[in-house]
């Protein structure tokens, strides 16, 4: 199954939002019914990243790479990185997969790798 993460497009002014918000940030006149749900772009450019050496308890790994990506649709998003040696400015492509596991639950989110 091809999973997506969705952005919220204002029906009045067309501004894209991620994450979801109740009122449009640009025109400020929307109530929460007035957004179209559109899949976010999955390709983009890595703006910045970190390698976290002490991830919290749900992550059973020694390090966790996280980054902010400038997507091709103009939005930015945080995601996990599956890249050995990340560099700012590099092209990346995202895939929605399991990003966090607890005893009973699995959580899905964007994982970026080299394009």
């Amino acid at each position: 199954m091809d999973r997506n993460i969705y952005a919220y497009k204002c029906k009045r002014c067309g501004e894209l939002h991620y994450p979801y918000r109740t009122i449009c940030k640009k025109c400020g006149e929307n109530d929460h019914n007035e957004f179209d749900i559109v899949p976010m772009a999955k390709k983009g450019k890595l703006l910045t990243y970190t390698v976290l050496h002490n991830p919290t308890a749900d992550f059973e790994t020694a390090t966790l790479s996280l980054g902010i990506v400038q997507l091709d649709d103009g939005l930015k998003m945080m995601g996990q990185l599956d890249i050995k040696e990340p560099k700012t400015g590099m092209r990346v492509t995202g895939k929605v997969d399991v990003i966090r596991k607890t005893t009973y639950d699995k959580y899905y989110g964007m994982i970026f790798s080299k394009e």
């Binding site: 991620y18 910045t48 390698v51 976290l52 919290t56 308890a57 996280l66 902010i68 945080m78 995601g79």
Partner: protein
């Protein structure tokens, strides 16, 4: 609005404290009452972030007011993330300024060492965006790491500049009895020596161990009072002259220019405008250096230095005690410690000590105007305070 003064102050050591949270809160309150000579208060605000989550203690203010036998005065707990402390001071300011109360006690207290460090980090991380950040494993060090990388690339800040902040604040804390870390460090020791990679490892690249504040327990208290009350007690007239607060996007990635901290800029502007001063009038400042990079960036955003030049002023020694703009004479969050809910009150405590001229070896000479920046979230809720010493 009436004018608001600081009648009394109190603080605990910022360290590991094996006491219940309400006692950590009550002790600085007792110290502040003794300091002011006041036996009664009209209202209590207690700033705390994690009581409900990590100490199984909700409704902290109710516990504290009774523990101090000050009932039936009103009491409220204020939670505003790491900016809880300054937020509670703001509430106290409004209560006295409005004429509703004459004497208000503001306490900040936190007990984070009750859980292991990873749990403490996870608890603080819950202030990030639940769906767009927290779920991915984002922590505050991670956000600071990403922010630092951008700042390094854009403005030429290096690991050496960050280490200079740590060295300065650790040195200042040596003269602060209440500081968490009494450990003098050197750039050679944490960056250049063969042991550097083991004693100063990466935590959230490019940030290392010595770029992070410690996880602390601690409490601090300020008693705020009207001018009429101040006439009855013999205390220096330290006026809380300016209060500013501003917010920014919850998810950090949504900011247009990710290297700007607009909420710091706006809160500082409001606070200084209300006090009728400019950044150049500030004689001593306590900035929120939970990560070394933040001291540099905040020193720019509040207006002490031009954007992108904070690290150059640091190089020239301007932010040391005795420099042109002394920052964090207490040791800052970096070395004094960071009990999240208490930090804002702790910063104000240091400024009042400095303005009274009671700061001992770390005293900034002729301190007349003091400024604090209490940074909540990753810069999405910031409270700035300005204090002025009157004759």
């Amino acid at each position: 609005m009436r004018e608001v003064y600081v009648a009394g102050i109190g603080i605990t050591s910022f360290t590991r404290l094996e006491y219940p949270l309400y006692e950590i809160a009550a002790y600085p309150g007792l110290m502040a009452m003794r300091d002011s000579g006041l036996k009664k208060i009209d209202h209590l605000y207690v700033a705390n972030m994690g009581g409900g989550r990590i100490n199984d203690q909700t409704g902290l203010a109710s516990a504290v007011i009774d523990h101090m036998s000050l009932t039936p005065a009103g009491a409220e707990t204020i939670e505003n993330g790491p900016a809880s402390g300054a937020s509670a001071i703001k509430q106290g300011f409004m209560a006295v300024a409005s004429g509703m109360h004459d004497v208000v006690m503001v306490i900040g207290a936190e007990r984070m060492r009750a859980v292991n460090p990873l749990e403490a980090t996870d608890f603080v991380a819950t202030l990030s965006h639940p769906l767009a950040e927290y779920i991915y494993g984002v922590t505050l060090p991670a956000l600071a790491g990403m922010f630092t990388r951008l700042y390094m690339e854009k403005y030429g800040v290096t690991s050496r500049h960050l280490a200079m902040v740590a060295v300065k604040n650790h040195k200042n804390a040596m003269d602060n009895f209440f500081a968490h870390l009494h450990e003098e460090i050197s750039i050679a020791g944490i960056l250049d020596s063969p042991e550097a990679s083991t004693n100063n490892p990466f935590i959230a690249e490019p940030l290392r161990f010595y770029d992070m504040c410690p996880v602390s327990d601690g409490g601090a208290c300020l008693i705020l009072a009207s001018a009429e009350v101040m006439k009855k007690i013999n205390k220096p007239m330290i006026r809380l002259a300016g209060v500013g607060q501003a917010t920014d996007t919850h998810a950090v990635h949504e900011r247009k220019e990710p290297t700007d901290l607009l909420a710091v800029r706006e809160a500082a502007r409001q606070s200084m405008a209300m006090a009728g001063i400019t950044p150049q009038d500030v004689s001593v400042a306590e900035l929120h250096d939970a990560f070394t990079i933040l001291e540099i960036v905040e020193s720019e955003e509040v207006g002490f230095f031009k954007k992108g030049e904070g690290h150059l002023a640091l190089e020239r020694g301007e932010t040391q005690i005795g420099g042109k703009s002394p920052i964090n004479p207490s040791g800052g969050l970096k070395a004094k410690g960071h009990p999240v809910g208490a930090t804002g009150v702790g910063q104000a405590h240091e400024i009042v000590l400095q303005l009274r001229g009671e700061a001992g070896k770390r005293q900034v000479k002729n301190a007349k105007t003091g400024f604090t920046c209490n940074f909540g979230g990753f810069g999405n809720n910031v409270v700035c305070l300005t204090f002025i010493k009157e004759k």
